[in-house]
Amino acid sequence: MSELVNTRLLTPGMQIVLVDGAIAEVVSNPLDGVWVFARYLSSPTDPSVVGSEEMIFAQDIVEAREP
C-alpha cells in the first residue's frame, strides 16, 4: 500500500500520479487539503484529457513526485 499523500505539501510543478494511472502536473494548490489544480500530462484511461487542467480530488492521488 502506498503512503498517503499530504496534498497540503504539493507545490506547483510537482507531478502527481492518480489512482487510474494518469500523471498530472500541479498548477496551484488552494491548501484546503481536499483539492489541487493540476494539468494532465498523460491518462491511460482517457487520453482526451491530456493538456487540460482539472481539480484533482485528494483521494485520487496515490503518489507525488518532485519535478
Binding site: 484546503d32 481536499v34 483539492w35 481539480m55 480530488f57
Partner: protein, 472 residues
C-alpha cells in the same frame, strides 16, 4: 391564556396609544416569524468593500440567522466590464450537498471554498467546481451548474457598504433607502464629505448579549432619554477632548432633531447648526486629530454647502443596522440569535486618507467607547440585558411598555434657517427627548410582520402611481 404561544397579531404595537406589548420582545413564536417576515425580506448590511479589496478575498458575515460569505471573485478583465477586481458576491455559507459550512474562517483569501464533509468545492464566484468521484459515482450526470452556492437575490455596494436581501421582490436598495440616503451618507462618506472615502479600521468586534435584538435596535434609533445611564461615563470623561463621552459642543447652539421615514422604517438623530456658524472644535486631546477634523469640516462645508450644517447622531437603518456617524464612527448589526439573545457585530470606520496618527487616536477612542469593553456600550448592554430578563415572566408580559413620549408633536416639511430637513421631524431642542423615532421602528416592524408581500410594503409606490393617475 396570555398569548405566550400565539405569534404576531394586530394590536401588539398600538401606536395610537403609544404602547407596545412585551410579547414582541420575548415571544419565541414571534421571533420565529420575524426570520421569515423581516430578515428574509429586508435589506441587511453585510460588510464593507474595504474588507475584500483583492480577488479571492472573503469575509464571513451574517444575514438574520444565516451565515453568509461576502467575497470578491477572481474574474478580471473586460468580459464582465470590470477593471482590475472581480465582482462582489454574497453567498449562503452552506454546502448544497449536506449543508456543512463551506467556510469556517472569519476572513481571508482563497481560490475555492471546500466543504470538509464530502469535499464539494466552490469557486469564489459560487460555481460548483469540484465534486469528488464526479465521473465514477455520479457517472458525470450531476448538473453542476444547478448546484452552486445559494446567492442573495439582490446585492448593492452603496459607497463601499455592501447590503443584500434574499427577496427578489424587494425594491432596489436606493428605493429601500429613499431620502434616508442623505443621512446614511453621514456615516459612509469621508469626514470631508468625499463620497465613500472610508475604510474599516481593524477587526470586527463580535459578542453576545442576553436580550432580544430589538432592544439595541430601538436604542440606536436616537433614544436620547437613556442618557442618564451614561452619566458615570460622562463623569469619567472618556471623550476625545477629555470630558464627557463625546465632543458635544454643537448641543449648545444647534437644533436637536429626530428624523423618521414612515414608509421606510429608517430613523436617526441629527444636529442642525445655525446658518453661518462653524462646526465647533473637537478632539482637543490631540492637536493632529483636531487639526485634521477642522480641515475636513471646512472641506465638507465647501462641498455640501448648507447641508453640511447637518451633523450626524445615532440612527437605525431598518431593521437591524445601527449607524453611529460621528464619535465614534461605527456600524453595528444586531444579529438575532433566538428570542432572548443577540449577537452584536461592530465595524469601526476611519477616513482612508487620514494620517496614521489620526487612525491610531481614533482606534483608542473607539474601543474606549464602544464594543464589549467600551464603557458606553457596557452601560447599554446592562440595561438591555436586565430589561429583557425582567420582561419574560407571565405577569410581566401582561403589561405593555410605554412609547407615548412626544406622541402627536411630529412635523412634516421641517425647515430651520433656510434648510429643509427630509423626513418627519421631531424637534427635541426644548423637549429634550421623544420616542418618535422608536415608534417609527415598531410601525415598520408591525407592517413587515403583517404584510404578505412587498406589494403591501412598498406603500410609496402606490402613492407615486396615484400621483401619476391624478396627473393623467
Amino acid at each position: 391564556m396570555t398569548g405566550a404561544k400565539q405569534g404576531y397579531r394586530p394590536g401588539l404595537v398600538d401606536l395610537g396609544k403609544g404602547q407596545i406589548s412585551r410579547e414582541i420582545f420575548v415571544n419565541e413564536e414571534i421571533y420565529a416569524q420575524e426570520q421569515e417576515r423581516l430578515f428574509a425580506r429586508a435589506w441587511l448590511f453585510v460588510g464593507h468593500d474595504s474588507q475584500i479589496p483583492n480577488p479571492g478575498d472573503f469575509f464571513v458575515s451574517g444575514m438574520g440567522e444565516e451565515s453568509v460569505i461576502l467575497c470578491r471573485d477572481r474574474a478580471t478583465g473586460q468580459a464582465r466590464g470590470l477593471k482590475a477586481h472581480g465582482a462582489i458576491h454574497v453567498f449562503l455559507n452552506s454546502c448544497r450537498h449536506r449543508g456543512m459550512k463551506v467556510c469556517r474562517y472569519d476572513e481571508g483569501n482563497t481560490a475555492v471554498f471546500t466543504c470538509p464533509y464530502h469535499g464539494w468545492s466552490y469557486g469564489a464566484d459560487g460555481r460548483l467546481a469540484g465534486v469528488p468521484y464526479f465521473r465514477e459515482a455520479y457517472h458525470s450526470g450531476l448538473d453542476r451548474s444547478q448546484w452552486g452556492l445559494v446567492e442573495v437575490a439582490q446585492l448593492c455596494n452603496y459607497k463601499g457598504a455592501v447590503f443584500a436581501t434574499w427577496d427578489p421582490a424587494a425594491p432596489p436598495f436606493a428605493e429601500y433607502l429613499g431620502d434616508f440616503a442623505r443621512y446614511l451618507d453621514l456615516t459612509l462618506d469621508s469626514w470631508d464629505g468625499g463620497e465613500g472615502g472610508i475604510e474599516v479600521l481593524g477587526g470586527i468586534q463580535k459578542w453576545l448579549i442576553p436580550c432580544n435584538w430589538k432592544f439595541p435596535a430601538e436604542n440606536f434609533c436616537g433614544d436620547s432619554y437613556h442618557n442618564i445611564s451614561h452619566r458615570s461615563v460622562d463623569l469619567a470623561g472618556i471623550g476625545p477632548s477629555g470630558s464627557g463621552r463625546r465632543d458635544m459642543r454643537e448641543r449648545e447652539m444647534a437644533r436637536r432633531l429626530q428624523v423618521s421615514f414612515y414608509e421606510r422604517g429608517h430613523q436617526t438623530g441629527i444636529y442642525v447648526m445655525p446658518q453661518g456658524e462653524p462646526t465647533p472644535p473637537a478632539y482637543g486631546h490631540s492637536p493632529i486629530v483636531s487639526e485634521y477634523f477642522a480641515h475636513c469640516e471646512d472641506q465638507r462645508r465647501r462641498r455640501h454647502g448648507e447641508w453640511a450644517r447637518v451633523i450626524g447622531s445615532p440612527g437605525e437603518l431598518f431593521p437591524n443596522t445601527a449607524l453611529h456617524p460621528r464619535q465614534p464612527r461605527t456600524i453595528a448589526v444586531w444579529h438575532p440569535r433566538g428570542a432572548h439573545r443577540t449577537e452584536v457585530w461592530r465595524w469601526y470606520f476611519v477616513d482612508k486618507a487620514a494620517p496614521p496618527e489620526v487612525k491610531d487616536f481614533l482606534r483608542d477612542y473607539y474601543i474606549r467607547y464602544s464594543g464589549p469593553a467600551g464603557m458606553t456600550e457596557q452601560d447599554d448592554m446592562e440595561n438591555w440585558n436586565y430589561a429583557h430578563a425582567a420582561s419574560r415572566g407571565v405577569i410581566a408580559r401582561r403589561h405593555p411598555y410605554s412609547y407615548e413620549q412626544g406622541l402627536g408633536y411630529e412635523t412634516e416639511n421641517y425647515q430651520w434657517q433656510g434648510l429643509r430637513i427630509p423626513g418627519t421631524v421631531m424637534d427635541i431642542t426644548e423637549a429634550k427627548s421623544s420616542e418618535h423615532n422608536l415608534r417609527n421602528l415598531y410601525r415598520r416592524w408591525a407592517e413587515f410582520m403583517a404584510a404578505d408581500s412587498w406589494d403591501e410594503l412598498a406603500t410609496w409606490r402606490r402613492a407615486d402611481q396615484s400621483v401619476v393617475r391624478a396627473a393623467e
